[in-house]
């Protein structure tokens, strides 16, 4: 089947390096307007998989097709050395030419417009993540690859940013490949989940993955219940002991 909205098609891809497979047998499709999330423990090949999808490795097994050039990337780590003086506005135009208005809009969207003239090294971890995200969306990409975009952001900010990412995928109609540790948020704001552990251990809609046996083994029984926080309707209210106190409307 030919899918017009297809942005990236990764077929049976893997990377063998220094005598071992970093990741193997990965299949995934990224399409417009959908969020695909990679989850898995440390060292399970999440970042490697994202980089394979971006085409950053030369010697991979399998096949990667990219049908767009408008790609934005938020790497897991960006460290700015002291010798390099970069302000937020310098960073915004790092790989792209932007109008003043586009810069302001993007910074406004992630809530850091007031930091425009600050030096990158002055920002806190959370502010820096918001700037990274603003830069990535400023030129309205087709494909957005986000490697743990909310690290260092406080809890309310985290929920806010995931809501923003969801909104971006809807308004820009771009495909998003998201790497995340936060199972609970991921499960609520994702269209498709790929659970990695050196290979794809399971994949599918959040509901399907949460019920998967391998997923439960990997993350523990509790994690599959996380989903219920979001799936079930609240028809009652608990008191602090967990007793039902009244019917909700």
């Amino acid at each position: 089947m030919i899918d017009n909205d297809l942005l990236v098609k990764v077929s049976d891809a893997g990377l063998y390096k220094d005598g071992k497979w970093l990741v193997k047998g990965v299949n995934l499709n990224i399409t417009k307007g959908k969020i695909v999330t990679l989850i898995g423990p440390n060292g399970s090949g999440k970042t490697t998989t994202a980089k394979i999808a971006l085409g950053l490795y030369k010697n991979i097994e399998g096949n990667v097709e990219r049908l767009t050039n408008k790609i934005s990337y938020v790497p897991q780590k960006v460290s700015i050395d002291w010798t390099l003086p970069v302000r937020v506005i310098d960073f915004m135009v790092l790989t792209q030419d932007l109008q003043e208005q586009e810069i302001n809009d993007a910074l406004n969207l992630t809530g850091v417009e007031h930091l425009k003239n600050n030096n990158l090294r002055e920002l806190s971890g959370g502010e820096f993540q918001r700037v990274l995200l603003a830069r990535a969306i400023a030129k309205k990409p087709d494909l957005l690859v986000l490697d743990e975009p909310v690290q260092g952001v406080d809890f309310t900010g985290e929920v806010e940013l995931y809501a923003l990412i969801k909104k971006i995928s809807e308004t820009l109609k771009c495909g998003i490949l998201l790497i995340s540790h936060d199972l609970h948020v991921v499960m609520s704001a994702t269209d498709y989940v790929v659970c990695l552990n050196g290979h794809v251990c399971c994949s599918g809609t959040p509901v399907a993955v949460a019920q998967n046996k391998e997923y439960k083994e990997l993350f523990g029984e509790k994690s599959s219940q996380l989903l219920s926080l979001y799936e079930h309707e609240h028809d009652h209210v608990h008191d602090s002991d967990g007793n039902i106190v009244k019917e909700a409307k």
């Binding site: 960006v78 010798t83 090294r121």
Partner: protein, 263 residues
């Protein structure tokens, strides 16, 4: 006017300072100062080849330095040695080979001090043309690759993911550095060229908070070092190259008092 040796020295110095400013900033940002040293050391071999085969000195330095740079890029991909070990290997092997070859040429009278520390006062009109024409080409190419080069300096993978081909611009930048060393060795000398590249930029970093400002300030710092250094070397009768670098160091020390600690 071009008959006056001091005037020629000044024109040469201005040309060099304008090119070392922006290139030096990238050397500092990319932590390449040892790499600059390596290229400069390999220039000795270039000088000796130029004398033995009677070819243009800038051309032969450029050829040898580019070759060493390309060997380095190749070795980085094929060996597991750390970057600084590779640089040390190349730097000292090219220096040693240069000195051995020099031993065979004992019949040639040869001013080794001039090559090591530069002799800006011996600059002739031909050298001026090479400095200014070469410098203009270097700056033009740097201007062309500025954006991808800067992006890959900030974050290599981000630049590559967003389609900027950092590998190619890195190789081009390396060649530009070799070219700069080729046009400036006669003036600053191969032991001091890295100082000329780095010290004005280190000074500029203390005073600036964005990349363009740092480039402009390092050009100004380089120009000031050339003006004051040349004047001082003429007045107190010291060698010009070391005097210029000494002035740059003094400017750097002065800039420490204005350092923006916050950033």
């Amino acid at each position: 006017m071009f008959d006056d040796f001091l005037f020629r020295a000044l024109i040469a110095g201005i040309g060099i300072a304008i090119v070392t400013g922006p290139l030096g900033c990238f050397v500092v940002w990319r932590r390449l100062s040892f790499f600059g040293d390596t290229l400069a050391h390999s220039a000795l071999l270039g000088v000796i080849l130029s004398i033995s085969f009677d070819i243009n000195i800038s051309l032969s330095i450029f050829a040898v330095s580019s070759l060493v740079a390309l060997i380095l890029l190749r070795l980085q991909n094929t060996t597991n040695l750390a970057g600084d070990a590779l640089l040390g290997l190349l730097s000292h092997s090219s220096l040693a080979i240069g000195l051995v070859v020099l031993g065979f040429l004992s019949f040639i009278r040869f001013d080794i001090m001039g090559i090591l520390f530069g002799d800006i006062l011996s600059v002739n009109v031909n050298d001026l043309i090479i400095i200014w024409a070469g410098g203009a080409i270097i700056l033009f190419v740097l201007w062309l690759i500025w954006k991808p080069l800067f992006a890959s300096t900030v974050n290599y993978e981000l630049a590559e993911a967003e389609g900027m081909n950092p590998k190619r611009v890195n190789a081009i930048f390396t060649i530009l550095l070799a070219a700069l060393i080729a046009i400036s060795i006669k003036m600053v000398g191969l032991l001091l060229i890295t100082g000329m590249l780095i010290i004005p930029c280190a000074m500029a970093r203390n005073l600036s908070n964005n990349p363009k400002q740092m480039v402009i300030l390092s050009i100004i710092g380089g120009l000031l070092s050339v003006f004051i250094g040349l004047y001082a070397s003429f007045e107190i009768n010291t060698s010009s190259g070391p005097t210029i670098v000494t002035v740059a160091i003094i400017l750097f020390i002065l800039s420490l008092s204005r350092i923006r600690k916050k950033y």
